[in-house]
């Protein structure tokens, strides 16, 4: 069966077409077309929708909604999403960023998925025709998800959002690991809450829950964060791939997390 593309103007029709076996949604195609080029013959049909809301970004009342077809380049240049520009620019080179979509990044396997790491730290929700799902749950079940993701939504943080991608080749390289953190401080300067998301430390973006807990009430100093760094690798199962070994990823994670928190 050759690969064929079907384009629908409505999400409903596209979702219906996606139910047949061997069919996948086509975002920017940087992963799914690549797989076909490389001889993956399991995908026989691609479906896409030209529904305009998929390509829009809305920021109002402290809430952001990014359509699933929005590209990394579009996020990076959006005036009100400045805090996310670093995470969007972390994906590939300029041409990849003009193609790679937010929706596709949610499905990108390790060592990819840098932008999804940022979304995980932001506690985003993922919208499909079935409604909204918290991103943690969405990522856990993404392999069986058949519905088109239409958008992601999150509260725009006042400040305290940080993102770091560690790669060997600069300026464009695949992740050794990536980290996103949303840290809220109490009036006395101690950490009130923390959400830390890690990329490449499992087969998909994951939370560093032990480190998050250890940070609550701590000072944002070298000594204050030391207990959190000591448990940073708890429940990680990093990949071993041509970029880095699992051992290496675990060794350097606390170092980079420390640098990010103190930056």
């Amino acid at each position: 069966m050759a690969l064929a593309l079907q384009t629908f103007s409505t999400l409903k029709d596209a979702n219906a077409a996606l139910q047949s076996a061997g069919t996948r949604y086509l975002g920017g195609g940087t992963l799914v077309v690549r797989a076909a080029n490389e001889g993956d013959v399991s995908v026989t049909g691609l479906v896409r929708s030209t529904e305009p809301s998929l390509s829009t970004i809305d920021v109002s009342d402290g809430k952001a909604r990014i359509g699933a077809s929005v590209t990394m380049a579009a996020v990076a240049r959006h005036a009100e999403l400045g805090f996310l520009a670093g995470a969007a620019r972390a994906v590939g080179g300029p041409a990849v960023r003009n193609m790679a979509t937010v929706g596709g990044n949610l499905f990108a396997p390790t060592p990819y998925g840098d932008f999804a790491v940022a979304l995980l730290a932001l506690d985003a929700t993922v919208t499909t025709e079935d409604g909204e799902t918290p991103i943690d749950a969405f990522l856990a079940h993404r392999d069986v998800s058949r519905a088109i993701v239409t958008s992601v939504g999150f509260s725009v943080p006042q400040d305290g959002f940080r993102f770091l991608k560690v790669s060997r080749v600069k300026p464009k390289g695949v992740s050794v690991l990536s980290i996103a953190a949303l840290v809220e401080r109490a009036a006395d300067g101690t950490i009130a809450s923390a959400r830390i998301a890690l990329g490449c430390m499992a087969d998909r973006p994951m939370r560093a829950k032990a480190a998050e807990m250890a940070l609550v009430g701590a000072n944002l100093t070298k000594e204050g964060i030391a207990p959190a760094l000591a448990v940073a690798t708890e429940s990680t199962s990093p990949a071993t791939d041509p970029i880095a070994s699992a051992w290496y990823r675990n060794e350097v994670l606390p170092v980079h997390l420390g640098r990010l928190l103190l930056s």
Binding site: L3, V33, E38, A95, V96
Partner: protein, 160 residues
Amino acid sequence: MAKVPVQFTLNGSETAEFIDSGSTLLHALRDKIGDTSPKGGCHQGTCGACSVIIDGELRLSCLTLAENCNGTAITTTSGLSEGGVLHPLQRAFLDAFASQCGFCTPGMIMAAKVLLDHTPNPSRDEVVQALSGNICRCTGYEPIIQAVLLAARANSQNAA
């Protein structure tokens, strides 16, 4: 196999072709339309040799489905020289010895062109960023970076 029509402007000329559904723009350009200036070095998005400009944006033609390019304006390196006169970037790549085997060159020139179209006087770092999706295994990146800076200088002198 189902054939689908594609129609776009290629280097200023209206171009139409029937292709297999699901085939890439790289395939359509090279094997159907006959513009072999975009090169296929990896077909996986990593080398940048297949870079083309679609509606002013840099794209990888190996990962772009041709059907999705209907109605767009596409530029390739073969369309840059007008009336036999080299584009300043082509001139600079030639003068600065930025092209050894030449396989990466059309893609490099595309990436550089998008940069200069938006940023006529880029810094060295901006050039590095703009070329970061393109791999060259022969020339070494320094002559290529210098060629782009040279072209930018040549452009601004012409404009002055």
